[in-house]
């Protein structure tokens, strides 16, 4: 057990009041700075930050709880729409994914309650089908098709190019949550191989050199908006 190391004497650290004013970004910077200066985070600062986090987490949890009613109503609407159809689970999951971009756990749990189906059965279906996502997507989706025609015409190079440009592997989202990168099997544009889909828009006959242009275009449009 490491002995309690006190901060070198004479060092004034951030006061409690300053910490309370910080937002998450500033807090991260502050902790990084402290760590850099001392090699670790001194206990008094750690305790102060911890206290602040607990207060904020509690508030966030209460806000989440208030949103639960929205989740419940959404799920009820989806179920009501498909109530009379047998075997409606997959269609309801599509509707949920269209709304949220993925299947959030809370929504799946609510669906289980509403349909009277065990949660395990719902996850059995979600995890079987490649289309349903369990993680939130990025704001923008970059998809490279890896069907046979696209594979023969060089989709491998496109995949590497996207990996280099975005810095993430397939199935991952960039840390700033802006871009999500997926590789799929065949979107049916084999005549225009290799094909990519960026934010729902299909591009055909894509070359490695075009990839950075496509990504830049998305960033530019976002900056404009």
């Amino acid at each position: 057990m490491t002995p309690h190391i006190s901060r070198p004497a004479g060092e004034a650290g951030p006061k409690a009041a300053d910490i309370a004013k910080c937002d998450e970004g500033a807090l991260l910077e502050l902790i990084d700075e402290v760590e850099r200066r001392h090699g670790y985070v001194p206990r008094d600062i750690a305790e102060e930050v911890n206290r602040l986090l607990e207060v904020r987490l509690e508030r966030l949890r209460r806000i989440q709880g208030k949103l639960d009613t929205t989740i419940r109503r959404d799920v009820q609407n989806h179920v009501a729409h498909w109530r009379d159809e047998e075997g409606n689970l997959i269609m309801i999951l599509h509707a949920i994914q269209n709304q949220h971009g993925y299947i959030p756990r809370e929504v799946a749990m609510e669906l289980s309650r509403e349909l009277g189906v065990k949660l395990a059965r719902i996850y059995e279906v979600i995890t079987f089908y490649h289309y349903f996502k369990l993680q939130p997507p990025g704001q923008h989706n970059v998809v490279v098709c890896n069907g046979t025609a696209c594979y023969l015409k060089g989709s491998g190079e496109l995949i590497n190019e996207v990996k280099t440009r975005l810095g993430v592997s397939e199935g991952q989202t960039t840390p700033d949550r802006k871009f999500h990168f997926d590789v799929v099997r065949c979107i049916g544009c084999c005549g225009m191989s290799p094909a990519m889909v960026v934010d729902g828009k299909t591009h055909g006959r894509v070359r490695s050199a075009d990839v950075s242009g496509l990504i830049e275009q998305v960033k530019k449009e976002e900056a404009k908006a």
Binding site: E86, G87, Y129, L152, C189, G191
Partner: protein
């Protein structure tokens, strides 16, 4: 739209053709990806600017993926012309030059394949293109020669000479097509120019020694309306595509056994790839006694590299719906489902619209056309599982469950969706049905060969010059499809193999390309017909790599229910991976064969039974490539992987195919 009665439907059959002048822009997912929507807008703007009266239509796609976006023009005083690779700038020029100035555009015309052998009247335009693969392109030279010759004879102002984008003939030297009759000359040499101008142009004589008289290799039955009508318009389908006439005839004058008999005469077999006689499937389902029966259209099209079904659904959804209704009538079913994969949003959208239009017109619902037959159709989405193309897994998916296949028997005809008798048919199969019922089973059986009748749609992609959808009668050879219809291998490279049947199929090397296409012949060669995906591979494509690609796909898509597929597939993948890294051993090839045999015999469903096909077929024809990896070791593997990523200069992988 008000509900259609039988009388109104009959009246549609007599309706005269539509507007005499039009421009059609082909809009399907491929066309839109190439920018066809911008082209449509440019044409509309230019048309409005010039205050012209011709109508601009959205239509489906004829399937010429290599030329997207495609536009067709019918305007006064000009032959009907198809243009390819049309960007908005070219689109504006089409309106200005083709329509207003009556001049064809250079370098964009796709010549008609319906060639004639007689000159019906005076020649108005001449298309020219050098279809050889030599280093110099003589198109411009011949265009110049013809113009010069015509100037010498004083006829140059009457006839326009135009450089074409595509003539539909390949490796036949310089090809010249005389419009509007479409008399086509091939292998034209410089001295022939004078004769063409003096005899054909001036005297209307056909030059028999140059004449191309072979008929078009394609017969479009399934694709008959694709690119001709607006897929979002029921009115267009009724007016211009004999829409629902087949259904009307069936409901008015045929009993279900008559329909089945007609299908038996036609010899249509399941176009999803299994080739099961369609009439027999319907008969077996019809024989079952049950209060509820279902018809399902399998639009899962999971094969990577295939897009025929997507194209048909996006370009002609009503045909598939009509086929489904005729099938339902023959079997006594009142409810149908379209199972469409979620990766095809446009197809889903267009089929949904078609269903709603049919409902509004009374063509879906109770007492259709006053016949007492009731039917309704719904859409169910797939969710990215290849195995759900298999019929029992598809049924499980519609039931909202995990897509695990079930053992057969009982077959879906006996116990299918929710325990009721169910018939599942592929999109292409259903799209053929209205044509068969309208023109007769005997007419359909007249195409193709003895055990494999009719036509098949292939999506030819990969290292091919002109990727496109091709519909040919069974019995056409692979070489004809790849070389004569699609222009041969990209960049004039040497062909190595053609792959058919997707992840369930195999490779067919060059020496077998003269095989006529049919279910039986392809099986004998170690492949299958499959849904129609046809991939062309050149000498740079490694067969070990291709086998690994397909095997990885099958392992990813395996549902995991049965051990042979779940374990066997993964073990094979590990062995192949080791081999491709240069760490394989000679016994590995035998181990692969034994695992393949086990999977084929013991797997629960078609996915596991056919997953070994790519491996077995590449072992059969390209075993030298495997041996090269095994004997060459890691250094050979490193060299090969550098070739694949293009870091090292590409040498010809001249590996002779063994039998």
């Amino acid at each position: 739209m008000n509900p259609i009665t039988h009388e109104k439907l009959a009246a549609y059959a007599m309706v005269p053709p539509g507007p005499a002048e039009w421009i059609r822009v082909q809009l399907d997912t491929g066309g839109i990806a190439a920018g066809a929507e911008g082209v449509l807008e440019a044409i509309r703007n230019k048309r409005d600017e010039a205050r012209l009266s011709l109508s601009v239509h959205r239509v489906g796609s004829v399937g010429y993926s290599y030329a997207d976006p495609v536009v067709e023009v019918q305007s006064a005083g000009m032959p009907r012309t198809m243009y390819g690779r049309v960007c908005p700038g070219v689109a504006a020029r089409i309106v200005q030059e083709h329509v207003q100035q009556q001049r064809l555009l250079d370098d964009h015309v796709i010549a008609t394949r319906k060639r004639s052998t007689v000159l019906g009247g005076p020649i108005t335009q001449i298309l020219v293109k050098d279809t050889g693969t030599g280093s110099s392109d003589k198109t411009e030279f011949f265009q110049f020669s013809l113009v010069e010759e015509m100037r010498r004879r004083g006829v140059s102002d009457r006839v326009q000479v135009v450089r074409a984008l595509d003539m539909g003939l390949y490796n036949e030297g310089v090809v010249v097509q005389l419009l509007p009759s479409a008399v086509t000359y091939a292998n034209v040499l410089a001295p022939d120019v004078a004769r063409i101008v003096s005899e054909s142009l001036a005297e209307g004589k056909v030059l028999d020694d140059l004449l191309w008289s072979d008929p078009d290799l394609q017969t479009r039955i399934v694709l008959r309306n694709c690119g001709e009508i607006d897929p979002d318009s029921l009115e267009d389908y009724l007016r211009n595509a004999q829409g629902y006439q087949a259904l009307g005839r069936v409901l008015a004058g045929m009993q279900p056994p008559d329909v089945v008999a007609e299908m038996k005469t036609s010899g249509l077999r399941g176009r999803g790839g299994a080739g099961f006689p369609t009439w027999l499937k319907w008969q077996l389902t019809a024989n079952q006694k049950s209060p509820q029966k279902y018809v399902i259209c399998n639009a899962d099209e999971g094969d990577p590299g295939a897009f025929m079904d997507r194209s048909v659904l996006e370009s002609d959804p009503h045909t598939v719906l009509e086929g489904m209704m005729i099938a339902a009538y023959a079997m006594g079913s009142t409810m149908g489902y379209f199972y469409i994969r979620a990766e095809y949003p446009k197809a889903v959208e267009r089929v949904q619209r078609a269903i709603e239009q049919a409902r509004a017109a009374g063509l879906l619902g109770k007492n259709i056309l006053g016949s007492g037959f009731s039917f309704d159709a719904k859409i169910r989405l797939g969710a990215g599982a290849f195995v759900c193309g298999e019929e029992t897994a598809l049924i499980a998916s519609i039931e909202g469950k995990r897509g695990s296949p079930s053992p057969r028997p009982p077959y879906p005809s006996v116990r299918g969706l929710w325990g009721h008798p169910t018939a599942i048919n592929n999109v292409e199969t259903l799209a053929s049905v209205p044509a068969i019922l309208l023109r007769g089973g005997a007419w359909y059986a007249g195409h193709g060969t003895e055990p494999s009748r009719g036509t098949k749609v292939f999506a030819v992609t990969g290292k091919v010059q002109n990727a496109q959808l091709v519909e040919v009668p069974m019995g056409t050879t692979l070489r004809q499809i790849v070389y004569e219809i699609c222009g041969g291998v990209l960049d004039g490279k040497e062909i190595k193999a053609v792959q058919t049947g997707g992840p369930s199929g195999g490779v067919i090397p060059d020496k077998h390309l003269d095989t006529p296409v049919s279910y039986e012949t392809l099986q004998q060669l170690g492949s299958i017909m499959g849904s129609g995906g046809m991939l062309v591979m050149d000498q740079h494509d490694s067969m070990v790599d291709v086998a690994k690609f397909y095997l990885r796909f099958c392992v990813d898509e395996s549902c995991g229910k049965c051990a042979p597929c779940r374990i066997g597939g993964y073990q094979m993948l590990q062995i192949l991976d080791r081999i491709s890294r240069g760490r394989g051993a000679a016994e590995d090839l035998n181990t692969l064969r034994r695992i393949c045999g086990a999977m084929q015999k013991a797997s629960l469903c078609g996915l596991g039974q056919t997953a070994p096909n790519p491996v077995l077929s590449t072992l059969r024809y390209f075993i030298d490539e495997y041996k090269a990896y095994i004997e060459g070791g890691p250094s050979y593997a490193r060299k090969m992987s550098r070739l694949q990523t293009g870091e090292a200069p590409k040498e010809n992988l001249k590996v002779a195919a063994t039998s």
